[in-house]
Protein backbone atom coordinates (compact mmCIF):
# COMPACT_ATOMS: atom_id res chain seq x y z
CA UNK A 1 0.00 0.00 0.00
CA UNK A 2 2.67 2.48 1.06
CA UNK A 3 4.89 1.23 -1.76
CA UNK A 4 2.30 2.26 -4.32
CA UNK A 5 1.90 5.71 -2.79
CA UNK A 6 5.60 6.36 -2.58
CA UNK A 7 6.14 5.13 -6.14
CA UNK A 8 3.64 7.57 -7.58
CA UNK A 9 4.95 10.42 -5.47
CA UNK A 10 8.55 9.63 -6.36
CA UNK A 11 7.92 9.37 -10.05
CA UNK A 12 5.00 11.63 -10.90
CA UNK A 13 4.96 13.98 -7.87
CA UNK A 14 1.31 13.07 -7.57
CA UNK A 15 -0.15 12.83 -4.08
CA UNK A 16 -2.70 10.17 -4.89
CA UNK A 17 -5.51 10.56 -2.39
CA UNK A 18 -7.54 8.05 -4.41
CA UNK A 19 -5.14 5.31 -3.37
CA UNK A 20 -7.66 4.12 -0.76
CA UNK A 21 -10.38 4.10 -3.41
CA UNK A 22 -8.24 1.92 -5.65
CA UNK A 23 -7.71 -0.42 -2.69
CA UNK A 24 -11.51 -0.64 -2.32
CA UNK A 25 -11.99 -1.28 -6.05
CA UNK A 26 -9.62 -4.25 -5.83
CA UNK A 27 -11.29 -5.58 -2.69
CA UNK A 28 -14.84 -5.29 -4.05
CA UNK A 29 -13.84 -6.86 -7.36
CA UNK A 30 -12.45 -9.83 -5.45
CA UNK A 31 -15.55 -9.95 -3.26
CA UNK A 32 -17.81 -9.95 -6.32
CA UNK A 33 -15.85 -12.78 -7.95
CA UNK A 34 -16.04 -14.95 -4.84
CA UNK A 35 -19.63 -14.20 -3.80
CA UNK A 36 -21.47 -13.81 -7.13
CA UNK A 37 -19.39 -16.02 -9.38
CA UNK A 38 -18.58 -18.47 -6.58
CA UNK A 39 -15.00 -18.73 -7.68
CA UNK A 40 -12.14 -19.39 -5.28
CA UNK A 41 -10.19 -16.47 -3.82
CA UNK A 42 -7.10 -17.52 -5.76
CA UNK A 43 -8.99 -16.64 -8.96
CA UNK A 44 -10.39 -13.49 -7.39
CA UNK A 45 -6.97 -12.21 -6.33
CA UNK A 46 -5.56 -11.59 -9.82
CA UNK A 47 -8.92 -10.23 -10.99
CA UNK A 48 -9.01 -7.79 -8.08
CA UNK A 49 -5.44 -6.70 -8.81
CA UNK A 50 -6.20 -6.21 -12.51
CA UNK A 51 -9.37 -4.28 -11.71
CA UNK A 52 -7.43 -1.97 -9.40
CA UNK A 53 -4.69 -1.43 -11.98
CA UNK A 54 -7.23 -0.77 -14.74
CA UNK A 55 -9.11 1.64 -12.51
CA UNK A 56 -5.89 3.51 -11.67
CA UNK A 57 -4.97 3.68 -15.34
CA UNK A 58 -8.42 4.99 -16.26
CA UNK A 59 -8.01 7.63 -13.57
CA UNK A 60 -4.69 8.60 -15.18
CA UNK A 61 -6.23 8.92 -18.62
CA UNK A 62 -9.27 10.79 -17.40
CA UNK A 63 -7.93 13.10 -14.73
CA UNK A 64 -4.14 13.11 -14.42
CA UNK A 65 -2.91 13.13 -18.01
CA UNK A 66 -4.96 16.18 -19.05
CA UNK A 67 -3.28 18.37 -16.40
CA UNK A 68 0.27 16.94 -16.60
CA UNK A 69 2.83 19.73 -16.80
CA UNK A 70 0.15 22.41 -16.49
CA UNK A 71 0.31 25.03 -13.74
CA UNK A 72 -1.83 24.03 -10.80
CA UNK A 73 -1.12 20.32 -11.31
CA UNK A 74 -0.77 19.75 -7.54
CA UNK A 75 -4.07 21.29 -6.54
CA UNK A 76 -5.98 19.90 -9.50
CA UNK A 77 -4.86 16.33 -8.86
CA UNK A 78 -5.39 16.50 -5.09
CA UNK A 79 -8.96 17.66 -5.63
CA UNK A 80 -9.53 15.20 -8.47
CA UNK A 81 -8.27 12.24 -6.43
CA UNK A 82 -10.38 13.22 -3.41
CA UNK A 83 -13.35 13.47 -5.76
CA UNK A 84 -12.61 10.04 -7.16
CA UNK A 85 -12.48 8.62 -3.63
CA UNK A 86 -15.90 10.03 -2.84
CA UNK A 87 -17.30 8.78 -6.14
CA UNK A 88 -15.92 5.28 -5.53
CA UNK A 89 -17.41 4.93 -2.07
CA UNK A 90 -20.73 6.26 -3.35
CA UNK A 91 -20.64 3.80 -6.25
CA UNK A 92 -19.74 0.94 -3.92
CA UNK A 93 -22.67 1.94 -1.72
CA UNK A 94 -25.06 1.85 -4.68
CA UNK A 95 -23.79 -1.38 -6.19
CA UNK A 96 -23.02 -3.44 -3.09
CA UNK A 97 -25.16 -1.72 -0.36
CA UNK A 98 -23.65 -0.55 2.90
CA UNK A 99 -23.54 -3.95 4.61
CA UNK A 100 -20.16 -5.26 5.64
CA UNK A 101 -18.83 -7.87 3.26
CA UNK A 102 -16.45 -10.71 3.90
CA UNK A 103 -13.60 -11.33 1.53
CA UNK A 104 -12.30 -14.86 2.14
CA UNK A 105 -8.68 -15.29 3.19
CA UNK A 106 -6.30 -17.03 0.84
CA UNK A 107 -4.87 -19.05 3.72
CA UNK A 108 -6.83 -20.09 6.77
CA UNK A 109 -5.62 -21.28 10.11
CA UNK A 110 -3.08 -19.95 12.53
CA UNK A 111 -0.36 -21.11 14.85
CA UNK A 112 0.90 -19.90 18.16
CA UNK A 113 4.45 -18.81 18.85
CA UNK A 114 5.37 -17.82 22.42
CA UNK A 115 1.73 -17.19 23.26
CA UNK A 116 1.12 -14.94 20.24
CA UNK A 117 -1.37 -16.02 17.62
CA UNK A 118 -0.09 -15.67 14.08
CA UNK A 119 -2.49 -16.25 11.21
CA UNK A 120 -1.27 -17.86 8.04
CA UNK A 121 -2.88 -15.03 6.08
CA UNK A 122 -0.81 -12.57 8.12
CA UNK A 123 2.36 -14.40 7.15
CA UNK A 124 1.23 -14.40 3.54
CA UNK A 125 0.76 -10.62 3.68
CA UNK A 126 4.25 -10.13 5.09
CA UNK A 127 5.79 -12.48 2.55
CA UNK A 128 3.92 -10.89 -0.33
CA UNK A 129 4.86 -7.37 0.64
CA UNK A 130 8.54 -8.29 0.99
CA UNK A 131 8.43 -10.03 -2.38
CA UNK A 132 6.70 -7.06 -4.03
CA UNK A 133 9.27 -4.65 -2.60
CA UNK A 134 12.01 -6.81 -4.09
CA UNK A 135 10.26 -7.03 -7.47
CA UNK A 136 9.61 -3.29 -7.67
CA UNK A 137 13.18 -2.53 -6.62
CA UNK A 138 14.57 -4.90 -9.24
CA UNK A 139 12.24 -3.52 -11.90
CA UNK A 140 13.26 0.09 -11.25
CA UNK A 141 16.97 -0.68 -11.02
CA UNK A 142 17.63 -3.10 -13.84
CA UNK A 143 14.92 -3.16 -16.48
CA UNK A 144 14.54 -0.85 -19.46
CA UNK A 145 11.07 0.37 -18.54
CA UNK A 146 11.85 0.60 -14.84
CA UNK A 147 14.94 2.69 -15.50
CA UNK A 148 12.87 4.87 -17.82
CA UNK A 149 10.52 5.56 -14.90
CA UNK A 150 13.45 6.81 -12.82
CA UNK A 151 14.78 8.83 -15.74
CA UNK A 152 11.43 10.54 -16.23
CA UNK A 153 11.14 11.28 -12.53
CA UNK A 154 14.62 12.81 -12.36
CA UNK A 155 14.78 14.84 -15.55
CA UNK A 156 11.63 14.78 -17.59
CA UNK A 157 12.92 16.86 -20.48
CA UNK A 158 16.11 14.84 -20.89
CA UNK A 159 14.05 11.65 -20.71
CA UNK A 160 11.99 12.77 -23.69
CA UNK A 161 15.23 13.59 -25.54
CA UNK A 162 16.26 9.96 -24.91
CA UNK A 163 13.06 9.04 -26.78
CA UNK A 164 11.27 7.93 -23.61
CA UNK A 165 7.51 8.56 -23.93
CA UNK A 166 6.85 10.59 -20.78
CA UNK A 167 3.07 10.39 -20.54
CA UNK A 168 2.95 6.67 -21.21
CA UNK A 169 5.60 6.14 -18.54
CA UNK A 170 3.45 8.02 -16.04
CA UNK A 171 0.52 5.80 -17.01
CA UNK A 172 2.65 2.72 -16.33
CA UNK A 173 3.66 3.98 -12.89
CA UNK A 174 0.09 4.75 -11.92
CA UNK A 175 -1.14 1.36 -13.13
CA UNK A 176 1.61 -0.44 -11.18
CA UNK A 177 0.78 1.56 -8.10
CA UNK A 178 -2.89 0.66 -8.63
CA UNK A 179 -2.01 -3.01 -8.88
CA UNK A 180 -0.10 -2.77 -5.59
CA UNK A 181 -3.13 -1.15 -3.93
CA UNK A 182 -5.24 -3.96 -5.39
CA UNK A 183 -3.01 -6.65 -3.89
CA UNK A 184 -3.31 -4.88 -0.53
CA UNK A 185 -7.08 -4.56 -0.95
CA UNK A 186 -7.63 -8.25 -1.61
CA UNK A 187 -5.15 -9.61 0.92
CA UNK A 188 -5.91 -7.21 3.79
CA UNK A 189 -9.72 -7.23 3.55
CA UNK A 190 -10.10 -10.58 5.35
CA UNK A 191 -8.65 -8.90 8.47
CA UNK A 192 -11.61 -6.57 8.72
CA UNK A 193 -14.98 -6.32 7.03
CA UNK A 194 -15.18 -4.67 3.67
CA UNK A 195 -17.32 -1.56 3.42
CA UNK A 196 -17.40 1.36 0.97
CA UNK A 197 -15.08 3.34 3.24
CA UNK A 198 -12.64 0.55 3.96
CA UNK A 199 -9.92 2.21 1.97
CA UNK A 200 -9.68 5.23 4.21
CA UNK A 201 -7.77 3.81 7.16
CA UNK A 202 -5.24 1.85 5.12
CA UNK A 203 -4.59 4.95 3.06
CA UNK A 204 -4.00 7.12 6.12
CA UNK A 205 -1.65 4.45 7.44
CA UNK A 206 0.11 4.27 4.10
CA UNK A 207 0.46 8.04 4.11
CA UNK A 208 1.96 7.94 7.61
CA UNK A 209 4.35 5.19 6.58
CA UNK A 210 5.29 7.06 3.42
CA UNK A 211 5.96 10.29 5.28
CA UNK A 212 7.86 8.48 8.02
CA UNK A 213 10.02 6.63 5.55
CA UNK A 214 10.53 9.66 3.38
CA UNK A 215 8.23 10.54 0.51
CA UNK A 216 9.34 8.85 -2.67
CA UNK A 217 11.78 6.47 -1.00
CA UNK A 218 11.12 2.79 -1.59
CA UNK A 219 13.57 1.58 1.02
CA UNK A 220 12.04 4.10 3.43
CA UNK A 221 8.53 2.76 2.87
CA UNK A 222 9.68 -0.78 3.62
CA UNK A 223 11.62 0.08 6.78
CA UNK A 224 9.00 2.54 8.03
CA UNK A 225 6.21 0.02 7.46
CA UNK A 226 7.84 -2.53 9.69
CA UNK A 227 9.17 -0.06 12.27
CA UNK A 228 5.78 1.59 12.70
CA UNK A 229 3.95 -1.75 12.78
CA UNK A 230 6.22 -3.12 15.47
CA UNK A 231 6.16 0.13 17.42
CA UNK A 232 2.36 0.19 17.34
CA UNK A 233 2.08 -3.41 18.60
CA UNK A 234 4.65 -2.68 21.28
CA UNK A 235 2.65 0.28 22.58
CA UNK A 236 -0.55 -1.78 22.41
CA UNK A 237 0.92 -4.56 24.51
CA UNK A 238 2.66 -2.42 27.13
CA UNK A 239 0.43 0.65 27.40
CA UNK A 240 -2.90 -0.56 26.08
CA UNK A 241 -4.67 -0.36 22.73
CA UNK A 242 -5.88 3.18 23.37
CA UNK A 243 -2.31 4.50 23.26
CA UNK A 244 -1.32 2.86 19.98
CA UNK A 245 -2.53 5.59 17.61
CA UNK A 246 -1.40 8.53 19.78
CA UNK A 247 1.95 6.78 20.20
CA UNK A 248 2.42 6.52 16.46
CA UNK A 249 1.52 10.16 16.01
CA UNK A 250 4.01 11.24 18.69
CA UNK A 251 6.67 9.25 16.87
CA UNK A 252 5.74 10.90 13.56
CA UNK A 253 5.85 14.37 15.07
CA UNK A 254 9.30 13.65 16.57
CA UNK A 255 10.41 12.33 13.23
CA UNK A 256 9.20 15.40 11.37
CA UNK A 257 11.03 17.65 13.85
CA UNK A 258 14.29 15.70 13.71
CA UNK A 259 14.30 14.63 10.06
CA UNK A 260 11.68 16.60 8.13
CA UNK A 261 12.26 14.54 5.00
CA UNK A 262 11.70 11.20 6.72
CA UNK A 263 14.05 8.29 7.29
CA UNK A 264 15.35 8.05 3.75
CA UNK A 265 13.73 11.25 2.58
CA UNK A 266 14.52 12.43 -0.90
CA UNK A 267 12.80 15.75 -0.26
CA UNK A 268 12.46 18.18 -3.09
CA UNK A 269 15.81 17.63 -4.72
CA UNK A 270 16.37 13.89 -4.92
CA UNK A 271 14.09 11.55 -6.77
CA UNK A 272 13.61 7.80 -7.20
Amino acid sequence: MALGLTLVWGAVRLLNLAHGAIFVVGAYAAYWVTSSLHLPILVALPIGVLAAAAFAYAMHVGFIRPVLGKPGFDNATIIATVGISIAVSAAALLIFNPEYKVVPAVLSGYFIVAGVQITNQGLLVIGTSLALFAVVYFYLTYTRHGMAIRAVSQQQEAASLMSIPVERTYGTVIAISGALAGVAGVLLSPFFFLSPNSGFNPMIQALIVTIFGGLGSIRGALVAGFVLGIFESFVEVYYGVAWAQPGVFVLIILMLILRPNGLFGIGEVRRL
Binding site: R144, R150, A158, A159, M162, S163, I164, P165, I266
Partner: protein
Protein backbone atom coordinates in the same frame (compact mmCIF):
# COMPACT_ATOMS: atom_id res chain seq x y z
CA UNK B 1 19.09 15.69 -44.24
CA UNK B 2 17.76 18.29 -41.80
CA UNK B 3 15.83 21.16 -43.29
CA UNK B 4 14.21 24.04 -41.43
CA UNK B 5 11.84 26.32 -43.33
CA UNK B 6 10.31 29.58 -42.12
CA UNK B 7 10.41 28.47 -38.51
CA UNK B 8 8.93 30.81 -35.92
CA UNK B 9 8.80 30.03 -32.25
CA UNK B 10 8.62 31.76 -28.91
CA UNK B 11 7.27 31.84 -25.40
CA UNK B 12 4.04 33.25 -24.06
CA UNK B 13 3.54 36.67 -25.60
CA UNK B 14 6.89 37.08 -27.31
CA UNK B 15 8.21 35.61 -30.50
CA UNK B 16 11.91 34.72 -30.35
CA UNK B 17 12.54 33.22 -33.77
CA UNK B 18 11.18 35.08 -36.78
CA UNK B 19 11.31 32.75 -39.72
CA UNK B 20 14.45 30.62 -39.73
CA UNK B 21 15.63 28.81 -42.89
CA UNK B 22 18.49 26.41 -42.36
CA UNK B 23 19.80 23.14 -43.75
CA UNK B 24 22.28 20.54 -42.60
CA UNK B 25 23.47 17.98 -45.16
CA UNK B 26 24.63 14.44 -44.49
CA UNK B 27 27.81 14.44 -42.44
CA UNK B 28 27.99 18.21 -42.45
CA UNK B 29 29.10 20.37 -39.52
CA UNK B 30 26.94 23.47 -39.28
CA UNK B 31 27.49 26.15 -36.67
CA UNK B 32 24.92 28.73 -35.62
CA UNK B 33 26.78 31.67 -34.10
CA UNK B 34 25.03 34.35 -32.16
CA UNK B 35 25.25 36.30 -28.93
CA UNK B 36 23.42 35.15 -25.82
CA UNK B 37 19.70 35.72 -25.80
CA UNK B 38 19.29 35.86 -29.56
CA UNK B 39 17.51 32.54 -29.91
CA UNK B 40 20.12 29.78 -30.34
CA UNK B 41 18.70 27.57 -27.61
CA UNK B 42 15.15 28.35 -28.74
CA UNK B 43 16.07 27.26 -32.26
CA UNK B 44 17.39 23.88 -31.12
CA UNK B 45 14.44 23.36 -28.78
CA UNK B 46 11.99 24.18 -31.57
CA UNK B 47 13.67 21.67 -33.90
CA UNK B 48 13.54 18.83 -31.34
CA UNK B 49 9.99 19.56 -30.25
CA UNK B 50 10.72 20.69 -26.69
CA UNK B 51 9.17 24.00 -27.69
CA UNK B 52 6.52 23.37 -30.35
CA UNK B 53 7.07 25.86 -33.21
CA UNK B 54 4.36 28.37 -34.08
CA UNK B 55 4.76 28.12 -37.81
CA UNK B 56 7.16 26.84 -40.43
CA UNK B 57 8.35 23.31 -40.82
CA UNK B 58 11.17 20.95 -39.92
CA UNK B 59 12.04 18.08 -42.27
CA UNK B 60 14.28 15.11 -41.63
CA UNK B 61 15.28 13.27 -44.81
CA UNK B 62 12.41 15.04 -46.57
CA UNK B 63 9.93 13.83 -43.99
CA UNK B 64 7.95 16.39 -42.05
CA UNK B 65 8.68 16.12 -38.31
CA UNK B 66 7.27 19.48 -37.22
CA UNK B 67 5.20 19.26 -34.03
CA UNK B 68 6.08 15.65 -33.39
CA UNK B 69 6.55 14.80 -29.72
CA UNK B 70 10.17 15.21 -28.55
CA UNK B 71 10.55 11.49 -27.84
CA UNK B 72 9.37 10.63 -31.36
CA UNK B 73 11.73 13.16 -32.94
CA UNK B 74 14.59 11.72 -30.87
CA UNK B 75 13.65 8.23 -31.97
CA UNK B 76 13.76 9.40 -35.59
CA UNK B 77 17.44 10.28 -35.10
CA UNK B 78 17.55 13.98 -34.22
CA UNK B 79 19.46 13.89 -30.95
CA UNK B 80 19.71 17.00 -28.83
CA UNK B 81 22.51 17.54 -26.30
CA UNK B 82 20.74 20.24 -24.31
CA UNK B 83 22.06 23.29 -22.57
CA UNK B 84 22.79 22.57 -18.91
CA UNK B 85 23.39 18.89 -19.78
CA UNK B 86 20.15 17.73 -18.07
CA UNK B 87 21.68 14.54 -16.71
CA UNK B 88 19.69 12.18 -14.54
CA UNK B 89 21.24 13.37 -11.24
CA UNK B 90 20.46 10.37 -9.04
CA UNK B 91 21.45 7.78 -11.58
CA UNK B 92 24.98 6.53 -11.96
CA UNK B 93 27.24 7.44 -14.86
CA UNK B 94 26.61 4.03 -16.39
CA UNK B 95 22.84 4.31 -15.96
CA UNK B 96 22.86 7.74 -17.59
CA UNK B 97 24.72 6.35 -20.59
CA UNK B 98 22.43 3.35 -20.86
CA UNK B 99 19.34 5.59 -20.87
CA UNK B 100 20.74 7.13 -24.06
CA UNK B 101 20.15 3.74 -25.67
CA UNK B 102 16.55 3.51 -24.41
CA UNK B 103 15.09 2.82 -27.84
CA UNK B 104 14.28 -0.83 -28.36
CA UNK B 105 16.68 -1.18 -31.30
CA UNK B 106 19.64 0.33 -29.47
CA UNK B 107 18.87 -1.21 -26.07
CA UNK B 108 19.87 -4.68 -27.21
CA UNK B 109 23.22 -3.42 -28.47
CA UNK B 110 23.89 -1.07 -25.56
CA UNK B 111 27.09 -2.85 -24.57
CA UNK B 112 28.73 -2.39 -27.98
CA UNK B 113 27.60 1.22 -27.93
CA UNK B 114 29.10 1.69 -24.47
CA UNK B 115 32.41 0.47 -25.90
CA UNK B 116 32.38 3.18 -28.54
CA UNK B 117 31.59 5.92 -26.03
CA UNK B 118 34.40 4.64 -23.74
CA UNK B 119 36.81 5.00 -26.67
CA UNK B 120 35.94 8.69 -26.77
CA UNK B 121 35.85 9.22 -23.00
CA UNK B 122 37.82 6.43 -21.31
CA UNK B 123 37.32 7.84 -17.79
CA UNK B 124 33.58 7.14 -18.01
CA UNK B 125 34.34 3.45 -17.74
CA UNK B 126 36.10 3.61 -14.36
CA UNK B 127 33.54 6.02 -12.94
CA UNK B 128 30.50 4.02 -14.00
CA UNK B 129 29.14 3.61 -10.48
CA UNK B 130 29.42 7.27 -9.48
CA UNK B 131 26.23 9.32 -9.25
CA UNK B 132 25.92 11.90 -12.02
CA UNK B 133 25.16 14.64 -9.48
CA UNK B 134 28.67 14.34 -8.05
CA UNK B 135 30.51 15.00 -11.33
CA UNK B 136 32.36 18.21 -12.16
CA UNK B 137 31.09 20.56 -14.85
CA UNK B 138 33.41 19.24 -17.54
CA UNK B 139 32.65 15.64 -16.67
CA UNK B 140 28.94 16.35 -16.88
CA UNK B 141 29.30 17.85 -20.31
CA UNK B 142 31.22 14.79 -21.52
CA UNK B 143 28.64 12.46 -19.99
CA UNK B 144 25.83 14.38 -21.69
CA UNK B 145 27.64 14.04 -25.00
CA UNK B 146 28.34 10.34 -24.39
CA UNK B 147 24.71 9.74 -23.48
CA UNK B 148 23.61 11.36 -26.73
CA UNK B 149 26.00 9.14 -28.66
CA UNK B 150 24.44 6.01 -27.19
CA UNK B 151 21.41 6.55 -29.42
CA UNK B 152 21.27 5.87 -33.11
CA UNK B 153 21.57 9.53 -34.03
CA UNK B 154 21.52 10.76 -37.61
CA UNK B 155 22.31 14.27 -36.50
CA UNK B 156 23.50 15.73 -33.21
CA UNK B 157 22.20 19.11 -32.05
CA UNK B 158 24.66 20.50 -29.54
CA UNK B 159 23.87 23.58 -27.48
CA UNK B 160 26.87 25.69 -26.52
CA UNK B 161 29.28 23.01 -25.37
CA UNK B 162 31.72 25.53 -23.86
CA UNK B 163 29.18 27.09 -21.51
CA UNK B 164 30.65 27.49 -18.03
CA UNK B 165 33.75 25.41 -18.65
CA UNK B 166 37.43 26.13 -18.10
CA UNK B 167 39.47 26.70 -21.31
CA UNK B 168 41.32 23.39 -21.08
CA UNK B 169 38.12 21.38 -20.62
CA UNK B 170 36.51 23.32 -23.44
CA UNK B 171 39.37 22.28 -25.73
CA UNK B 172 38.84 18.64 -24.77
CA UNK B 173 35.11 18.80 -25.44
CA UNK B 174 35.53 20.32 -28.87
CA UNK B 175 38.23 17.80 -29.73
CA UNK B 176 35.82 14.99 -28.98
CA UNK B 177 33.01 16.61 -30.97
CA UNK B 178 35.48 16.90 -33.86
CA UNK B 179 36.15 13.16 -33.63
CA UNK B 180 32.43 12.43 -33.66
CA UNK B 181 32.06 14.60 -36.74
CA UNK B 182 34.99 12.85 -38.46
CA UNK B 183 33.16 9.56 -37.96
CA UNK B 184 30.54 10.90 -40.38
CA UNK B 185 27.93 12.30 -38.03
CA UNK B 186 26.05 15.43 -39.08
CA UNK B 187 26.27 18.14 -36.44
CA UNK B 188 24.34 21.33 -35.79
CA UNK B 189 26.12 23.27 -33.08
CA UNK B 190 25.03 26.53 -31.46
CA UNK B 191 27.76 28.70 -30.03
CA UNK B 192 28.40 32.25 -29.01
CA UNK B 193 31.96 32.52 -30.23
CA UNK B 194 33.98 31.13 -33.09
CA UNK B 195 37.11 30.29 -31.08
CA UNK B 196 36.80 26.53 -31.07
CA UNK B 197 34.81 25.58 -34.12
CA UNK B 198 37.66 25.48 -36.65
CA UNK B 199 37.96 22.00 -38.13
CA UNK B 200 34.44 21.21 -37.03
CA UNK B 201 32.48 23.70 -39.09
CA UNK B 202 31.72 23.32 -42.77
CA UNK B 203 29.18 26.09 -42.85
CA UNK B 204 28.32 28.96 -40.51
CA UNK B 205 25.11 30.87 -39.90
CA UNK B 206 24.97 34.10 -37.96
CA UNK B 207 21.90 34.51 -35.77
CA UNK B 208 20.83 37.94 -34.62
CA UNK B 209 17.62 38.74 -32.69
CA UNK B 210 15.90 35.66 -33.99
CA UNK B 211 16.88 36.02 -37.63
CA UNK B 212 19.66 34.28 -39.55
CA UNK B 213 21.42 37.30 -41.03
CA UNK B 214 24.37 35.66 -42.80
CA UNK B 215 25.30 32.26 -44.09
CA UNK B 216 28.46 31.04 -45.72
CA UNK B 217 31.21 28.43 -45.90
CA UNK B 218 33.19 28.20 -42.68
CA UNK B 219 36.63 28.96 -44.11
CA UNK B 220 35.36 32.29 -45.51
CA UNK B 221 33.14 33.29 -42.58
CA UNK B 222 35.59 32.40 -39.84
CA UNK B 223 38.38 34.35 -41.56
CA UNK B 224 36.31 37.51 -41.61
CA UNK B 225 37.26 38.80 -38.17
CA UNK B 226 35.61 42.16 -38.73
CA UNK B 227 32.30 40.53 -39.54
CA UNK B 228 32.42 38.17 -36.56
CA UNK B 229 33.40 40.96 -34.23
CA UNK B 230 30.57 43.18 -35.31
CA UNK B 231 28.05 40.41 -34.63
CA UNK B 232 29.48 38.68 -31.61
CA UNK B 233 31.40 41.55 -30.00
Amino acid sequence: MLEVKGLTAGYAGSEVLHGIDLTVKDGEGVIVLGPNGHGKTTLLRAITGLLPPRSGSVLLDEREITRWRPDVIAAAGVVHIPQGDLLFPDMTVLENLVMGAYQRATWSERNQRLGRVYELFPWLKERGRQLARTLSGGERRMLALGRGLMSKAKILLIDEPSLGLAPLTTEQIYASIRRVKESGMAILLADENANHVAGLADRVYLLETGVLVREGPAEKMLQDKALLESYLG
